[in-house]
């Protein structure tokens, strides 16, 4: 029974990692941009939610509705003002810009919010449990996983069923031809980053209620996000969820054998997947 529980908890933890990764996957899928500041943007969003929570005395679940449009705006402006200028045939300039952005964000947060570990005050929600027969799972991890599925389903719908999604796919395949058809790649990219920041905010909400955050933890979240994207296969949204689950389960199973192996087991699982399927579990057909 312990193994059922261990794997179930790992799957739920995977939901959190999938949320970290979904935004990254989206941005990479559309503009081949590897956003090294992704983890720090999650931390920034967590501080934004915390700020709204403390200022207005709202529950984090309500505060997130104020933080989402703010983060969308930040993402839109970031892409339009900074990242669009460096996108091109060379992948190095955007990489360097986001790397610099990561350092800037960490230090701005350190300066304004101090190095203290913070947590989103979830009250009773934090300890509520769901009794599923032989195992009990926390309400919060369950909501995290449910949100991950909802977010990915929504992104999938947006991508393949809407006009906006068609524009996303068009500029992703061939920006020049897409602009001949009346699509402006610059504003499509800005929209995509804005949406990625909405996903980032949802990830930040669950991260901040589950564990504590401080200005320096961004890069370690980025690693999990990266690994989930790569395990799942670049550009595949459902693959990203699978990737998150693989890391989550590897971590809890590793910890069940010995807690010293918890973090290592996740990274080992990533390397094993790379060895067996270098393009990930569900790679998109052509790239």
């Amino acid at each position: 029974m312990i193994w059922v529980d261990t794997i179930l908890q790992g799957v739920l933890l995977g939901g959190l990692y999938a949320l970290f990764a979904a935004g990254l996957s989206l941005v990479f899928g559309i503009m081949r941009l590897v956003n090294l500041a992704h983890g720090d943007l999650i931390v920034l969003a967590a501080y934004l939610i915390l700020g709204v929570t403390t200022l207005l005395g709202l529950h984090p679940f309500l505060a997130v509705f104020l933080a989402v449009p703010l983060m969308f705006g930040i993402g839109y402006a970031l892409q339009l003002g900074v990242l669009n200028r460096v996108l091109g045939d060379d992948i190095l300039p955007p990489l360097l810009v986001t790397f610099g952005l990561s350092i800037v964000l960490q230090n701005v947060l350190l300066e304004t919010a101090s190095a203290d570990s913070r947590r989103l005050p979830a009250g009773e929600t934090a300890v509520e449990a769901l009794n599923l027969g032989p195992v009990t799972v926390g309400l919060l991890p369950f909501l995290t996983f449910a949100s991950a599925i909802a977010v990915i389903a929504a992104l999938q719908y947006l991508f393949y069923r809407t006009a906006m999604g068609r524009a996303f796919r068009a500029v992703s395949d061939d920006p020049v031809t897409a602009s001949l058809m009346g699509i402006r790649p610059a504003s499509v990219f800005a929209l995509a980053t804005g949406i990625a920041m909405v996903v980032v905010t949802i990830a930040a909400l669950y991260l901040g209620m589950r564990a504590t955050f401080d200005p320096a933890i961004g890069p370690s979240r980025l690693i999990y996000a990266f690994e989930a994207v790569i395990i799942g296969g670049l550009g595949s949204l459902w693959g990203t969820l699978a990737g998150g689950v693989v890391i989550g389960v590897a971590q809890t199973v590793g910890a069940a054998i010995n807690p010293e192996w918890q973090i290592l087991a996740g990274h080992v699982a990533f390397l094993v997947v790379l060895l067996i399927r270098p393009r990930g579990l569900f790679p998109r057909a052509v790239d």
């Binding site: 908890q9 190095a115 809890t252």
Partner: protein
């Protein structure tokens, strides 16, 4: 708080310039102030340990006038940063002595740097084993352990926390199965050590510790530990956990249906803030208690009793009292006493000698490096202070730490009996 600290450092360095210009005259001219460095984790996961720093330093300045200049450094809860700021204090600020407090992650790097640079250092608020043994070249080989020339430490040790926790658990019936949460850090490795730590000592007292292994601090998931404790039917929880991790663990334990009868946790639940973060589920959690307003001691510096000092803190800050108030204050009591007994504050050997000869009644009890209650290898550098056990009770929305066991230090009064969770 940070603004005040910054201002303090600014004024301190401005004062330093004045003192330096005065030093063009004969050394130790009239009015030259004795420079003391103080390192503590003022931000980061351990920041709660340093809540009383400003209050204590203000009181010290008021009591000693112009004799001392205190240069405060923040370790940011990071051992590497702690070593860096210790270097800064020694090289840039040329301090005569360093005071350091709060967890081996702060005290050890600072004490190691000071010892190697030959600057006297007084340390507290970390059990003495991780402090003394943790700084040795080979912690696993007792034959190679050497005493220090300039580093001194006073606090309780693992033997005390073992006696206190066992005495608290003895107060009611359990099955003797104990879940142990020991992280991979200085405290966790010392407490969980299978030879010198809690597991062997507790089994002598009839308790079996289930130890799933060392985990990384700031972990996202404690399912493995919770399952191991549930499988062993543990009715007691113990460990030495940093405050953010205990909140994560305790929430997950509740979510996954692990409900022990007693939970005695070191380090994580020392402070009212940690209990506020936990909410009602923190009622009757127990921990080691090193200082309370009911401790029958008074300050050699201000004459205040423990109760008066705690009340003054609450009045000055509007915050409930916390245990480090007493210990941080005692560090400065020690500094004033030691410097009062040396002719030349800048002679490290004389200062170290004066520290070793200390015999002082402080706000945390008598401090003397006479080796009482200690094994011979630690007798030169370590002094012990009393330890009792307490439980957090939520009364009308206010968290109160009640001493529930004093079998290890009968001079400290109890305020009630141990209650199950």
């Amino acid at each position: 708080m940070s603004m005040n600290r910054r201002r303090l450092i600014q004024t301190a360095s401005a004062g330093g310039l004045l003192a330096a210009s005065g030093l063009a005259a004969p050394a130790l001219a009239q009015g030259a102030r004795i420079r003391i460095g103080y390192v503590s984790p003022q931000s980061g996961p351990l920041a709660a340990f340093s809540e009383a720093d400003q209050f204590v330093i203000d009181a010290f300045a008021a009591a000693t006038g112009d004799t001392f200049e205190v240069i405060v450094k923040d370790s940011q809860s990071n051992p590497n940063r702690a070593a860096d700021v210790a270097q800064e204090l020694i090289i840039d600020d040329a301090v005569s002595m360093i005071l350091v407090a709060s967890t081996p992650e702060t005290t050890n790097p600072v004490a190691t740097v000071a010892e190697s640079e030959g600057i006297p250092v007084l340390s507290t608020t970390a059990p003495w084993q991780p402090w003394f043994i943790g700084q040795q070249g080979n912690p696993t080989d007792p034959g190679s352990w050497r005493p220090f020339d300039y580093a001194f430490h006073y606090f309780w040790g693992l033997e005390d926390v073992i006696a206190v926790f066992a005495a608290m658990w003895d107060q009611f019936d359990t099955n003797g199965q104990v879940g142990g949460l020991f992280p991979n850090d200085g405290d966790g490795n010392a407490w969980g050590d299978p030879v010198n730590g809690l597991p062997p000592a507790m089994s002598e007292r009839g308790y079996t510790i289930v130890d799933p292994g060392r985990y990384q601090n700031l972990t996202d998931d404690f399912t493995a530990q919770i399952n191991a404790f549930k499988a062993a039917n543990a009715e007691i929880l113990t460990g030495v956990v940093i405050p953010p991790d205990f909140t994560t663990f305790w929430n997950q334990a509740k979510q996954q249906g692990f409900n022990p009868k007693a939970a005695s946790i070191g380090k994580a639940i020392l402070f009212p803030q940690s209990l506020e973060a936990l909410g009602e589920s923190g009622h009757n959690l127990s921990s080691e208690v090193w200082w309370t307003p009911t401790h029958p001691f008074s300050s050699s510096l201000t004459g205040q009793s423990a109760a008066e000092m705690a009340a003054a803190f609450t009045q000055a800050t509007g915050r409930p009292w916390t245990q480090p108030i007493g210990f941080v204050h005692s560090l400065f009591e020690m500094a004033a006493d030691v410097m009062g007994r040396v002719d030349d504050a800048d002679d490290p050997d004389a200062v170290a000698e004066a520290i070793a000869a200390t015999e002082l009644e402080t706000i945390v009890g008598r401090i003397a490096f006479d080796g009482a209650g200690l094994p011979p290898f630690a007798a030169t550098n370590v002094a012990k202070t009393p330890l009792v056990g307490g439980q957090w009770r939520l009364n009308d929305g206010v968290w109160d730490l009640v001493v529930v066991d004093n079998s290890t230090a009968p001079q400290i009064p109890t305020g009630g009996r141990m209650q199950p969770l």
